[in-house]
Symmetry: C2
Subunit: 185 residues, 2 copies
DNA sequence: TGACAAAATGGAGCGGTGCTCCGATTATTC
DNA sequence: GAATAATCGGAGCACCGCTCCATTTTGTCA
C-alpha cells in the first residue's frame, strides 16, 4: 500500500471510530470522509460498505469480547461468568448504538463483513452457556442462538431512551430466565 | 372539510395503510403521496408528521388491542389472558415493521401523535398484569413499564429476519419470566 | 348565474443521504 | 527525469424529509 493511501486509511479509521461512537452506526459516511479531510471516493475504496468500515473499527472490541469469554470460562462460577459476559456484551453494543441491528442482519448473511465477527461472538457466548448448563446453573432448554437473541433484545432495549431507567431491572429479569435456581439475585 | 380535501384524505389513508403494511413504518412518504395521486404538500398538510399519519392509520388497531385487553380481563384465567394479549400485541407490531421503535420513542414524548395510543396500550397491559399478580400467577416484582419493555423487545426481535425461526421459543422464554409456577408450558 | 374569497393543491426547491464513476494528481520505479 | 501505475476527490445521480407558495378548485352570496 502506498504511503499516502496508508495515511488516509489510518485517518479514516480514527475519525470513523470517533464518529460512530458519537452518533451511532448510522452516522453519515460523507461526514466521516469530510472530517478525515478525504474525498468520499477514497472512503469507499478503502471500505466498500458501511459494514466493512464498522468491522474494521470494531474488530479489536469483538476480539476482546471473545477473549474475555475465554478468560471467564476458566473462572470459578459458571453462572456469574455467563452473566458478566452478557452484561459486557450489551454494554459494548450500547457504546455503538445501532450496531446490534446490523449484527442481527449480519449473523445470517455470509456476505456481510460483520458476519465472521458475529458468528465468533455467538460461539463465545454459547461456550459460556454450555458450561453453565453442564454445571446445572443455566436452564437446559436454551441454545446459543437463543442466548444471542436475548442479548440482542437487551441491547436494543438499552438503546431506547425511554427505557434507560429500567435497563438494569430488565437485565436481571432476562438473566433470571437464563439461569435457574438462583433465588433472589 | 371540502369534498376534494376529504377525498384526498381518505385516499391517502387507504394508500398509506397498504404501503406501511408492505414496506414498514419507514416507507417513503413521497411514494405514498405519489401512489395516492396527490402532491407531497397535500400529504403534509393532512398529516404534518409521519407519526400523525401512522396514528390515524393504526388508531383502530390500537383501540382494538385495548378493547381486547378489557375482554380478556373478564376471562377465567388471568395468566392465559396476559399471555394471549402479549402475543396479540407483538403480532400487531410485526404487521407494521418498525413501529415498535417509534412507539418506544413516543411513549415518553408527549408531543408525539402516537403518545396517547402508546400510553393507552401500556395501561391496558398493566391491568392484565396486575390482575395476574393479584391471583398469584405473575411475578410480583414487575410493573407495567417493564412489561411494555419486554413486549417491545419481543416485537423487535420478531422483526429481525435471522430470528424468525426462534420467535415462538423466545416468546415462551420471556413469558416464563413474567409468569410464575407454571411448570412446563 | 356570475363574481369573489377562502380553502386546498402539488410540485419546485433546499439540504441532506448513499453510492458510482472518472479525470486529475501523486507516489513509485526504472 | 520520465513513464507508469496507484490513488485521490468531488461532481453527478437518484433518493430522502420537509417547506413554501403560485395556482387551481370549491363553496358562498349577491
Amino acid at each position: 500500500m502506498r504511503v499516502d493511501a496508508r495515511k488516509n486509511y489510518d485517518c479514516l479509521l480514527a475519525v470513523a471510530s470517533e464518529v460512530f461512537a458519537d452518533q451511532g452506526a448510522d452516522a453519515s459516511l460523507r461526514d466521516i470522509a469530510r472530517k478525515a479531510g478525504v474525498g468520499l471516493g477514497t472512503l469507499y475504496r478503502h471500505f466498500p460498505t458501511r459494514e466493512a468500515l464498522l468491522e474494521t473499527v470494531l474488530r479489536a472490541s469483538f476480539e476482546a469480547l471473545a477473549e474475555r469469554a475465554k478468560v471467564l470460562e476458566r473462572s470459578d462460577s459458571a453462572d456469574e461468568a455467563l452473566l458478566a459476559w452478557m452484561q459486557e456484551t450489551t454494554e459494548f453494543t450500547y457504546s455503538q448504538r445501532g450496531i446490534i441491528a446490523l449484527m442481527m442482519d449480519a449473523i445470517e448473511d455470509t456476505d456481510s463483513e460483520l458476519h465472521a465477527s458475529c458468528v465468533m461472538l455467538r460461539a463465545a457466548g454459547t461456550a459460556l452457556l454450555t458450561r453453565a448448563q453442564a454445571e446445572g446453573k443455566a436452564r437446559d432448554d436454551l441454545n446459543g442462538a437463543e442466548l444471542f437473541d436475548l442479548i440482542a433484545a437487551l441491547a436494543w432495549l438499552r438503546e431506547q431512551p425511554s427505557h434507560a431507567s429500567r435497563a438494569d431491572r430488565l437485565f436481571d429479569i432476562v438473566a433470571g430466565a437464563v439461569l435457574k435456581d438462583r433465588g433472589d439475585v
